[in-house]
Symmetry: C2
DNA sequence: TAGATTGTTAATCGATTAACAATC
DNA sequence: TAGATTGTTAATCGATTAACAATC
């Protein structure tokens, strides 16, 4: 887990929430908001919001609060929605297909440029307007197109080999839907895990043990 | 966010990881493991592992470590894999379909008993061996079958209404794939959020700002 | 000017890590 | 018995919350 520019991970994880709440405020036509009001909407504390934002700069104004549109744009800039990163997706099964078609990549400053699968019956098909390629083309594709982010929607058993290859081709970041702990085996990569099974079990534990 | 039996959320979130790592150790035929060795495999500290486990009881033995199979069974029991909860899924779109077919519910102590969608062309179809029902049947279905957990794979705009209805029908827990903050509007429910867009943006920020 | 609300420093809280006596 | 490793208490670290002077 490489450290990121001194901003703590809990703060970084809240940035997208700020962004989408501000987008909503804009849609509602609200022009200014105080940390207190925003806190109420997001179930945070006013203190926390001011602390979070002041990691990046003083976006507010004493006695007034924050200009909604300005803050939205600032956070968008911090999140880099204006700076496109190239993304590839490996494993076009149920989850892979859903991710490819459902996630709005371009809205989030990403560009999905390639899909890969081992299954012959998938290769050549179009998903989300992109042709599925053979796994054997992956290495060359990376050398030519230099994607920064790879989405892994492959079984645990294949994750190590695929990740190793991608890392040696220059991929630094993984959106990991496989149930394999990349961080344990590779240093200096950035991993965002979406472990659905773990998430469900956590929910189940909390349900069984609710106070 | 209802508090759960005094165990902190970070600990609860690690339980599924312990569980799957122990499963792997069993497959490898390893009979005993020390907190130090397990820490290395999971990129945790030995201290943390011992602290975590001692929230639930003294499962180890001084000078020896932990019996892999026993610990696996203990954690399985803590996670309640032997106690089935009934689950319904609302919204059989790309993500919903992928969840229904891909997630191994029964292995995790869950039973998927109903699928619901508003789209006429989906109603009546079978997904993961379960017939998709009309949304209009949802309320009656809940009263009859009493599901504890609902999976929301619906648009943000519909989440409030659907959740409200489910809560009044006795559902307490939500696996929330919609981009709507249930916790802000409802108290005394348990929510596990999977916000894919936020996860991707977090990854992207960290990639742009890697040190 | 008076009121509101920020930016920022200080206090608190909780989680992780370290240390070590207990004990298998 | 000697060595290893736990269970548990104490120390540290980091994140959240509170307080308040600065200022719009």
């Amino acid at each position: 887990m490489a450290k990121n520019s001194g901003i703590s991970l809990p703060v970084v994880r809240r940035l997208p929430r700020y962004y989408s709440n501000l987008e909503e405020l804009m849609r509602e036509g609200i022009l200014r908001i105080s940390s207190g009001e925003l806190a109420k909407r997001m179930k945070l504390t006013a203190s926390q919001i001011r602390q979070d934002l002041n990691n990046f700069g003083g976006f507010g104004q004493q006695g007034y609060g924050y200009n909604v549109t300005d803050l939205y744009n600032e956070i968008g800039h911090i999140l880099g929605v204006d700076r496109k990163l190239k993304v590839i997706l490996i494993g076009v099964g149920n989850i892979g297909k859903a991710i490819a078609t459902q996630v709005n990549f371009s809205k989030r400053g990403c560009e999905l440029i390639g899909l890969f699968d081992i299954a012959d019956e998938l290769v050549g098909q179009e998903v989300a307007g992109i042709k599925v390629r053979k796994m054997t083309e992956l290495s060359d594709f990376c050398k030519t197109n230099e994607p920064e982010i790879a989405i892994l929607c492959i079984p645990k058993s294949q994750a190590y080999g695929v990740a190793k290859m991608l890392i040696s081709s220059g991929v630094t970041s993984f959106w990991n839907f496989s149930h394999f702990d990349l961080n344990v085996y590779f240093d200096d990569i950035i991993v965002e895990n979406v472990h659905l099974g773990d998430s469900l079990m956590t929910l189940k534990y909390r349900t069984n043990n609710k106070g």
